[in-house]
């Protein structure tokens, strides 16, 4: 028997019982739509999370910090030193510090794309009556390029390794500057500090300890009043694009060339310990300036944990988003499973509907099945005829269900627009469409299998017996 004839017979027998076929298909439509919509909600959640992660510095960056023996060597400028609790490794052994040699070693690790050293210091900026303390981060031009920062027109990256030039984030002023008369910030009163980072000179104070000490009029151990530190006029090379409230992970920082920053710091602190830098037991500075941290960019997300382990093995502190992401994905997966489960229940009900319809159809057609058996229709053909009918119900129901899902998904996204995520709450990727279609068809066939086998085994005698 030709496959085309077989399909033809299946379709015509479905067509014969239009109402029942339509009702059965309706069950599959609802089942498919609910499963697809539920999964699309889970996927939308996933996608929104990924977008969020991307915003917070990507999925392939590991932050590496030195280890001062027992505590994290994450020094913050301005005399504020935060000791992070021991993470459990290497207590008070040889401290590991990030210098140029260490950066080279890190960049040799397999699957590491690039390593960006970060030298970070807190500086105080002054312009007119406005004053603000912010993070100045020295790094390589390459690292800045990798950050894909959007700059305003006329801005450029700080390429010079000798002359210090600063690239400001777009929320540096709104976040960090305050009016020195009333000590109010933008986020307190909504008055934008009148600071022009590009055109007007900004005075920078690198030795913020000295600045505060002199400001509050304290004296040093010898009883002499603190001297006010020197102010430097530092040129800016640009500002990032964005309004005063467009926050991102880089918007509230200022960036500069790491080599130029080293030169500048050495010049300013000549022979003294630079705030945030380690010192010898005698309280003297080391010859070299150590980096506060290094950003290791891994070639692919799948190597993250591996590379992170290697770096930890070298005695550094290494952390990344990967653990957080893994955890977040796990929880979103369980949400997806729960949502999918709800959808699956309705598809299961639809499957029972298909089986029931097929069973009914076989009882009605007992005689007909017997006749075609007597007329020489082979047993597998009989089975396939019924399987094809069930598959058709699944396929058509699945297809209509998908159309319905797209409509529901669009409506959900329209209603919730801007409420939660930019990316939309419901998201139906192509693979879900295809899988759902295939799945609906398979569900149809599986639920039609038992009735089909039953039809195949019916005795041909049923045809001859007269009721």
């Amino acid at each position: 028997m030709k496959f085309r004839d077989l399909l033809g017979m299946s379709i015509s027998s479905l067509w014969r019982r239009k109402l029942r076929t339509i009702l059965t298909i309706l069950g599959v439509v609802i089942g498919t739509a609910s499963i697809v919509v539920m999964i699309s909600l889970g996927l939308g959640l996933d996608k929104a999370q990924m977008a969020q992660i991307e915003q917070y510095g990507g999925l392939t960056t590991i932050n590496v910090r030195g280890n001062e023996g027992g505590s994290s060597g994450y020094y913050m400028g301005g005399g504020v030193s935060v000791a992070v609790e021991d993470v459990g490794s290497s207590d008070s052994s040889e401290p590991t510090r990030l210098d140029d040699a260490a950066i080279e070693v890190l960049s040799q690790i397999e699957n590491v794309e690039s390593v960006a050293p970060m030298l970070q210091t807190y500086v105080i900026g002054r312009q007119g009556i406005y004053e603000g303390q912010f993070n100045l981060i020295g790094t390589t031009v390459e690292a800045l390029e990798n950050m894909h920062l959007e700059l305003t027109e006329g801005s450029s990256l700080p390429t010079s390794e000798t002359e210090l030039k600063i690239l400001y984030g777009n929320t540096v002023v709104s976040d960090n500057f305050y009016n020195s008369r009333n000590n109010e910030y933008y986020w307190e009163n909504g008055n934008m500090p009148d600071v022009d980072l590009v055109n007007d000179p900004l005075f920078l104070i690198f030795d913020s300890d000295a600045y505060w000490n002199s400001k509050w009029g304290g004296t040093d151990e010898n009883g002499n009043p603190y001297k006010a530190p020197k102010k430097y006029v530092v040129e800016s090379c640009g500002v990032m694009a964005g309004g005063p409230e467009d926050y991102s992970s880089s918007s509230y920082n200022a960036y500069c060339n790491v080599e130029a920053l080293k030169v500048q710091l050495k010049k300013i602190f000549k022979g003294r310990v630079i705030p945030g830098q380690p010192q010898t037991k005698a309280g003297k500075p080391y010859k070299e300036i150590y980096y506060n941290q290094a950003e290791v960019k891994v070639t692919d997300m799948k190597y993250m944990e591996e590379v992170q382990e290697i770096i930890r093995g070298m005695g550094y502190y290494a952390d990344s988003n990967i653990e957080w992401i893994t955890q977040m994905r796990e929880s979103s997966r369980s949400v997806q499973a729960a949502l999918g489960g709800i959808g699956a229940v309705s598809l299961f009900v639809a499957a029972i509907g298909i089986a029931n319809t097929m069973m009914m159809s076989i009882y009605e057609r007992t005689k007909e099945i017997g006749v075609i058996k007597v007329l020489g229709c082979e047993l597998p053909n009989i089975r396939n005829m019924f399987l094809a009918e069930a598959a058709f119900i699944g396929l058509i129901g699945g297809a209509i269900g998908l159309v319905l899902s797209y409509i529901i998904s669009a409506v959900i996204n329209m209603v919730t627009k801007g409420m939660m995520y930019e990316t939309g709450v419901s998201y139906i990727p192509v693979w879900l469409t295809l899988t759902a279609l295939l799945f609906a068809m398979i569900v149809g066939m599986v639920s039609g299998l038992f009735p089909a086998l039953r039809a195949m085994r019916l005795s041909p005698l049923a045809a001859i017996r007269n009721e």
Binding site: K2, K367, E368, V371, I372, E378, A463
Partner: protein, 241 residues
């Protein structure tokens, strides 16, 4: 003359015993028969005597409890269901008492149905069905569905369907059981005519002695046993050919 004829159907020591609860019903109780090629045989007997059981056994629709059925040299009792279906498709045509046409198909499609199972292309099988319907005298009813035809017309379609595959043997279980006597005679005449022309073998069950009289040989069956074989060939000669 008997020696020249070729046996197509042979039953040897055939038993069919149904168990209903405790008791056993001997539907066939040791049947031996031989049917020759080109012969028209009828099986007659009272209701419940085992006629249908015997026909089903000969057509391979039911397995005998004991004994052999040999058709064209092949043992039906040894075949599995798949082989039996294939065997029927290649060698056997069937005419039912209640016509058993498919209600959704028109006359032409009904006749073409057995050809569909043989995998014949649509055009070819419909052409063949057309020719067959002309032969049974229904040139004007090809597009009619079964419920748009009289009983006699439906049975003509049934005959056409059985004959369209050019089977060597045609089995018919009370083919005129649902028809009045005039129509019965017409259908009988038609069957006999076509079968004669094609030199096909026809085995027909009936409880009507008059209709049985159309046959070359008549097997009388009582309580699952053949009690008498009537030979008409000599008596009637070739007068109705």
């Amino acid at each position: 003359m008997a020696q020249e004829r070729k046996a197509v159907i042979q039953a040897k020591n055939l038993y069919k015993i149904y168990s209903v609860g405790e008791s056993k019903v001997r539907a066939l109780n040791g049947v031996n028969l031989t049917i020759y090629k080109g012969e028209f045989c009828s099986i007659v007997g009272t209701s419940g005597s085992g006629k249908s059981t015997m026909l089903n056994m000969l057509a391979g629709l039911e397995k005998p409890t004991k004994g052999e059925v040999i058709i064209g040299g092949e043992h039906l009792e040894k075949m599995n269901e798949n082989q039996l279906v294939r065997f029927r498709r290649e060698h056997v045509g069937f005419i039912f008492q209640s016509f058993n046409l498919l209600g959704t198909l028109d006359a032409r499609e009904n006749v073409a149905l057995p050809l569909t199972f043989r995998g014949m292309p649509k055009k070819e099988r419909l052409a063949k069905a057309d020719a067959m319907l002309n032969l049974v005298g229904l040139p004007k009813h090809k597009d009619h569905r079964p419920n748009e035809m009289s009983g006699g017309q439906q049975q003509r379609v049934g005959v056409a369907r059985a004959l369209v595959v050019d089977p060597e043997i045609i089995f018919a279980d009370e083919p005129t059981g649902n028809l009045d006597s005039n129509t019965s005679a017409e259908v009988m005449g038609l069957m006999k005519k076509i079968v004669r022309e094609q030199n096909q073998t026809l085995v027909m069950v009936t409880h009507d002695n008059h209709l049985a009289g159309f046959a070359d040989r008549i097997f009388h069956i009582i309580d699952g046993k053949i009690v008498k074989i009537e030979d008409n060939t000599g008596k009637r000669g070739d007068e109705d050919l």
